[in-house]
Amino acid sequence: MKSPLPLTQPQFRLTAAAVFVAVLPHLLRLPWLISLPVLVLFALRWLQRRRGRARMPAWIKLPLVLFFPILIIFHYGNLFGREPGSALACAMLALKLMETENRRDARTAICFSAFVLMSALLFDNGLWITVLLCTALAVLFAALRALESPRTTLLPDLRSGALALAGALPLAVCVFVFFPRLGSPLWGAPNDTTARTGLGDRMAPGTMQELLIDDSPAFRVVFDNAPPPRDKLYWRGPVLWQFDGSAWTRPEWLASAPGDGEVRVRGARVGYQVTLEPSERRWLLALDVPLFAPEGAVRGADMSLVSRTRVDDPTRYRMVSAPDYVLEPVLDPQHRRLALQLPPGYDPQTRALAQRWRDEFHGNANLVIRAALDMIRDQFTYTLNAPLLGRDSIDDFLFDTKRGFCEHFSSAFTFLMRAAGIPARVVTGYQGGYFNKLGNYWVVRQSDAHAWSEVWLEGRGWVRVDPTAAVSPQRVQIGSGAAAGASAPWYQADWLMELRNRVDLVNRFWNDAIVQFNALRQQSLLTPFGVAKADYPQLMLAMIAAGSLLLGLLAWWVMRAPKATGDALDAIYAKLRRKLARAGVTHDPATGPLTLGQHASARLAAPQAVQRLLEDYVGLRYACALPAPERIQTFTRAVAALRLSAATQTARQSS
């Protein structure tokens, strides 16, 4: 008996809002080639709806249904997979809105909106986006409610949608916690690459710039004991050996050849736990220099850690590092050859300078290093707004622009060393971090990305030299934000960073408790109840038990008897009757006030007060249609002041 009634304007508006809210997170992410036509669809529909109630003709709809898949294939190459699939879903949802004229269509559109909304979380599962999207569900429910009982204002529907969500939170959490997770995916896990900023295995002037202004956390660290001083917090990432004149890269075979790389530990070891944010790369970060590779990862001969699988989810691992070490005291010949490689025909000026130093200091590596650092300290400026460099990038930087950041300094320094005959390589990673006192952990942000050099010295092995520290010591001692100084964008202002660092605690909780919650951790959920390793049936049982409890409470709340209806006067009269009943004046619901008065005079010692009250009640109830509020108040006070118990005692004694 569903009548195909056309939607009223508020109903349509709410439905459109629900669809738009679902598509919006995708629109911000999709290429404009697809998001723009989808937006145009919305605009068209809005205009069409404004102009009249006519249906969208089929000759407009049909080509559109074909147009979007073609557009998506044109852009992505196919229709399946996370990216093209979600783009298609958005387009189809917008198209559904085009033809939504009755309740059935609207319900379908809203239903599908929920799916599209959820799929947005497959791309970004941060705390805030999740909270926003969950809140957006309220719009969907508001639209569903509006379809049921049409009205002219949107606010009651939105409010009740939000209420429904809030009320559903306990049950949702219960199901979320106990619903058995899959140990392994049923079908292929997502493998698409999104352009997430992070450390790459290639460094060219400017590649890190984007990273240095990105404040999102890269990883978090909890130290077992006291952490090393801040200026010793060098987090080792990819080590770059090969220079082609413009970019530093890591030879592929080095990554696949695990070297045991001799490390002599000289001081104390530092144990800690790293929680890596998803980077969609394979690098793991560790404090210089890691003593082993975590499970599922390989430590290369250059001490960089490479995971066997891409880091697509937050990953946690334990590490032990030695801050004080001798690395590779005997240089492998192959490594020496690599560490001295220079592209022929590039940067003649730099080569000449290095050659001059080499001759001047008779090949004393320490003196050459000092000369280079002195030069950098005296003549160079640290800035994130580095000028562009030409073909001979090192020459341009060292002799012309003289302005740059870690990337430029480490690149130029390594080049200089190699040209001077000292084996050297570029190490990228992060430097420093922020200590969160509240959570007692360190958070290292993308903006802490750093690049430095390592030179190999006879008897000392690979030694870290940070030329950036020479020109801008506060970069290493305080942090990248401070080093950027006045040129820092407004959102990196100190107080704001401080605030963000505090808020990071919430993010960490989110990552720890929600995002990283998996089958393994779920098994230990029931430990407090004596179940060491919960299996699926036990988890299901727990879910059903907790869920039933919640639902039972709700059911009780819904089925409870409604409040006694009637007005204020009824309530007070009921109170008076209760008082009389306690005083021994028996009556039943059928006893009228006058009969009650007779009973009272028979049973009470001083029935005058009661008689008067009952007369008042009769006057208020039956002598006027709507008694004045003041009179009711007077009556209320009189009933409250009535004392009967003493009177009853005397009455009983006398009788």
């Binding site: 599908f112 909304l117 999740t130 429910f141 569903l144 995916p185 709700l554 059911a555």
Partner: protein, 326 residues
């Protein structure tokens, strides 16, 4: 009656069978006295088709979130599912404790609709998007306060008409669950007999006088109209009829103050129900022309009178007159 069952739809027959065989299940469909208070013993809930569709979608969302091991997506799915399924409580609360306090109906004529006013007592909670469905009638309404809704039910024949089993249902709040209850209040409204269309003029001076030729007096020719079975032949306007190829009868203005006696027995040559229809039409005609009238029925006699009450008494007597002896 037996001939009728063949045409009754299968669903209705199944329901009737179920009711005969499973009185425990359908006992609440019996006639019951007012007021009727709805509670959990008689409120039924089932998911709607949309609810089932949403469940299928939730399953897909759940599988997706689990497969990608994406906990935030799973959380969103759980939240959506919990809010959707918990709406069953809101749906239940829409009917729970709702009270059908009273029924009232305006009498009407068979062949038309009877308007039943169903008074609800909302018990402290506004009730949204309710639907009432009865034989051939459906209305949707909201109840913000105690109040009545009007349900028009067609009256096929004269006599007492029950609204029958009324299906009170709601899909509030999200259309995922339908809650319903059957109410069959102990109440009947009176359907007056069907009025004859184009009835002949009122008889004069009782049944005997109807065939007497009476001229003069204050009677004046008022109009000509088509012949109806039972019209006295003397009233036929032969000349006019010849011109029009159909029989026309002369209609005379009956002066005020005259009395008429509407006698069942005098209407010879007509079927039982047709006689009742004509008498009912005459009652209405006499009432509208302010002619005092008496009604003579085989079992009943109503003395001459005029006014709404007399009219009602006459029409009621006609409505409740027993059916044809055959």
């Amino acid at each position: 009656m037996n001939a009728g069952t063949a045409t009754v739809p299968l669903k209705t027959r199944l329901f009737e069978y179920a009711e005969r065989r499973l009185p425990a299940l359908t006992r609440l469909k019996r006639v019951e006295p007012l007021p009727i208070r709805l509670d959990r013993h008689r409120i039924y809930v089932l998911p709607t088709r949309f609810g089932l569709m949403l469940s299928a979608l939730l399953l897909v969302m759940l599988l997706g979130a689990l497969n990608y091991n994406n906990n935030p997506a799973l959380l969103l799915t759980c939240l959506f599912a919990a809010a959707a399924y918990q709406s069953v409580f809101a749906a239940f609360a829409t009917l729970n404790h709702l009270q059908i306090a009273a029924l009232r109906a305006e009498p009407g004529h068979a062949g038309g609709d009877l308007e039943f006013f169903i008074h609800f007592h909302i018990a402290a909670r506004p009730r949204r998007s309710l639907r009432l469905r009865a034989e051939g009638a459906e209305i949707a309404f909201d109840l913000d306060h105690d109040g009545a809704v009007a349900l028009r039910i067609p009256a096929p024949r004269r006599g007492w008409l029950r609204p029958g089993r009324v299906h009170l249902c709601s899909e509030y709040p999200f259309g995922l669950f339908e809650v319903w209850s059957w109410i069959n209040p102990d109440f009947a409204a009176l359907a007056y007999p069907r009025l004859e269309v184009n009835p002949p003029p009122l008889p004069r001076h009782g049944a005997q006088a109807q065939w007497e030729i009476e001229r003069g007096g204050g009677d004046e020719l008022a109009a000509l109209r088509s012949y109806q079975t039972g019209d006295p032949p003397r009233n036929i306007a032969w000349k006019a009829s010849a011109r029009r190829d159909e029989l026309l009868v002369k209609e005379f203005e009956t002066p005020r103050g005259h009395e008429v006696t509407l006698d069942y027995a005098a209407l010879r040559g007509l079927a039982h129900e047709d006689r009742i229809s004509r008498l009912a039409a005459w009652v209405c005609m006499a009432e509208s022309r302010r002619v005092p009238y008496a009604l003579l029925l085989p079992q009943t006699r109503l003395d001459t009178g005029l006014g709404a009450e007399h009219r009602h008494a006459c029409l009621r007597a006609l409505a409740l007159a027993p059916g044809a002896a055959s």
